[in-house]
């Protein structure tokens, strides 16, 4: 039985971006541990598109109650298919779904759990997987090994590249019997509200302009939006700015918010709390604009301007507009 299990999602007939990232991790584990890879799917979705990524088997639980996300029902179904698949290492995305499910699934499977993994390698003759994750707000990295199997592992989003094709492209689908009862759902989703701002998605943007407490208020974001537009990028924010209610939480970049790895990250009026810095370590060039020369953000930035953002952004926007020809 394949020992590496990926909890997958299919979007528009193909594996979602987060599933492809998990498959990269799965391929690495499969090679090192000499195990096969299986994917668990809840509900419909074309399994065939998974086989070209080295997936041997797709275990599927299909029940109408799995159409909408509900943690209790998803957990019952996931536990069932993970057991049917004989999962040894279970990979889940480190996003809001994985954050909701991973630890509880581990409890039910009497498994270990490692979250927000950024690196996987295989150690020594015993071939133990080692998982690296950032801790202490990115001030350190911990290498974690399982003391037992199974182990539930979440991968930090946007850290592993999406998997490329490999293997024979052949696999089999295994239906897993499950009958769910609406009474098993102890909570109910009443509403889902999209807050995503228009334009480029924050996680995909090649340039991100983020604002923090130093902007002094929500109106400061107007200049950031303009700069982001000129750079064809997206606008982010620090926790201070989202907590103040200046911009929606979905714009938060950092440990608790989103991880971004753009070519260019411009932090405006952001002090550089570890919480924030943990979300931008993958950025290629970090620019800090801050009135306080002692702000810790200057410790992580490559380029910096000490000064008032209101004096700096307008000429910066003008110059970029000239360059980008927009």
């Amino acid at each position: 039985m394949p020992g590496i299990f990926v909890f997958g999602t299919i979007e528009n007939g193909i594996p979602s971006r987060s599933t492809l990232e998990l498959l990269t991790g799965a391929q690495r584990l499969a090679a090192g541990l000499q195990e096969g890879v299986s994917v668990g799917l809840l509900g419909p979705g074309d399994a065939a598109s998974l086989y070209r990524y080295g997936v041997e088997a797709v275990y599927r639980a299909n029940d109408p109650l799995l159409k909408e996300y509900q943690a209790d029902l998803y957990l019952l179904a996931l536990q069932r298919i993970a057991q049917a698949a004989g999962a040894k290492v279970l990979l889940l995305p480190g996003d809001s779904l994985g954050r909701d499910l991973a630890a509880r699934l581990a409890f039910r499977l009497k498994a270990g759990v490692v979250t927000d993994v950024i690196e996987i390698d295989i150690e020594g003759p015993e071939k133990m997987p080692r998982f690296t994750r950032p801790v202490y707000g990115g001030k350190a990295a911990a290498v974690i090994v399982p003391k037992r199997f199974p182990v539930v592992v979440t991968l930090k989003p946007r850290t592993f590249d999406p998997a490329g094709p490999m293997g024979q492209g052949k696999g089999k689908e295994v239906p897993v019997e499950i009958s769910l009862d609406p009474a098993q759902a102890r909570t109910r989703m009443a509403e889902r509200v999209q807050e995503e701002t228009t334009g480029v998605k924050l996680e995909d943007a090649p340039a991100v302009v983020s604002g923090g407490r130093g902007l002094g208020g929500p109106e400061g974001f107007t200049l950031l939006v303009e700069l982001a537009r000129v750079l064809k990028g997206a606008v982010g924010a620090s926790r201070a700015a989202t907590d103040a209610g200046w911009v929606p939480s979905s714009m938060q970049v950092g440990q608790t918010g989103k991880t971004v790895s753009p070519d260019l990250y411009i932090a405006v009026g952001i002090s550089g709390a570890t919480q924030h810095v943990a979300g931008i370590s993958g950025a290629k060039t970090i620019v800090a604009i801050n009135a306080d020369p002692e702000a810790p953000i200057f410790k992580v930035a490559h380029l910096g301007i000490v000064g008032d953002y209101k004096a700096i952004l307008p000429p910066l926007i003008a110059k970029c507009r000239e360059l980008m020809g927009s």
Binding site: A103, T115, V145, P315
Partner: protein
């Protein structure tokens, strides 16, 4: 409504990286006498609890599983407005992982009497595993909603705003529930009043051992861990920030040149 808030005491997470040291024997941060604080999101959780109590009535208890020093975190909780506090502290808990800590917390909460709501921070300011809260929900066999920014209560039914990538979801559920709390403009932690700090400093807080709570010895401590921290390392990030000189116009011109050299634009 009866609410229990779990709080963790940690070394101040905003300590500059330059003062961060590793203790290789424990694979943890070396305390070095740095200030100890309540993990930030746990304070948001306490604020949510206090506001709910102010709105619908009830009681708030704070519980911590940790070192004896965590008594000061509990005193702060009392000073902020919690009615009751309890510390779970026992050398037998040393080296526990999230499952061990959750087992101890579950017993402590059961001793207080299963409340309507158990609140935890959505992640700790140090290890940020995001696991103790959800595991505690399982150990108590109650439903869990994670990354909740706001809670409203009405007639034994609660509405929770759960933050997700694209925005938020509104979840409904009946108590008992465990929620992990995210910071939000509606739950910025209050500062305790000096008078309340004085009063809290005189309160006696019970300390429970694992045996007091009937925690199975096999469920806690280093022997029970399911994953092990093999190594803790410091990332070798030594970026020197280049500062732009001159007036804003000059600074911007230099910045653009540097960005082009780096092919960043």
């Amino acid at each position: 409504m009866r609410i229990v808030v779990c709080v963790k005491q940690i070394i101040d997470p905003e300590l500059p990286a330059s003062q961060f040291r590793i203790d290789a024997s424990s694979n943890r941060q070396r305390p070095n006498g740095h200030p100890l604080v309540i993990s930030p999101y746990d304070e948001n959780a306490l604020e949510v609890a206090l506001r709910l109590k102010e709105k619908v009535g009830g009681t708030v208890a704070v519980v911590s599983a940790g070192e004896p020093s965590a008594i000061s975190a509990l005193r702060k909780g009392l000073a902020m407005g919690a009615d009751e506090a309890a510390l779970i502290s026992d050398p037998a808990l040393d080296g526990s992982d999230a499952f061990g800590l959750a087992a101890a917390l579950a017993r402590g909460i059961q001793k207080l009497g299963i409340p309507d709501l158990v609140l935890c921070g959505c992640e700790s300011g140090d290890w940020a595993d995001r696991t103790v809260g959800p595991i505690l929900a399982e150990a108590l066999n109650i439903p869990c909603v994670s990354f909740v920014a706001q809670v409203d209560g009405e007639d034994g039914r609660l509405r929770m705003r759960r933050v997700v990538e694209e925005g938020y979801e509104v979840w409904e559920g009946a108590p008992p529930l465990l929620l992990t709390i995210l910071s939000h403009e509606s739950n910025i932690p209050r500062y305790p009043k000096v008078k309340d700090i004085m009063t809290a400093s005189r309160r006696s807080i019970p300390t429970w051992s694992a045996a007091d709570l009937g925690v199975e010895a096999g469920d806690i401590g280093k022997a029970a861990i399911r994953t092990e921290v093999q190594q803790l390392t410091l990332p070798s990030r030594e970026s020197r920030c280049e500062l732009m000189d001159g007036e804003p116009a000059q600074q911007v011109t230099t910045l653009i040149t540097k960005l082009r050299e780096r092919k960043a634009i």
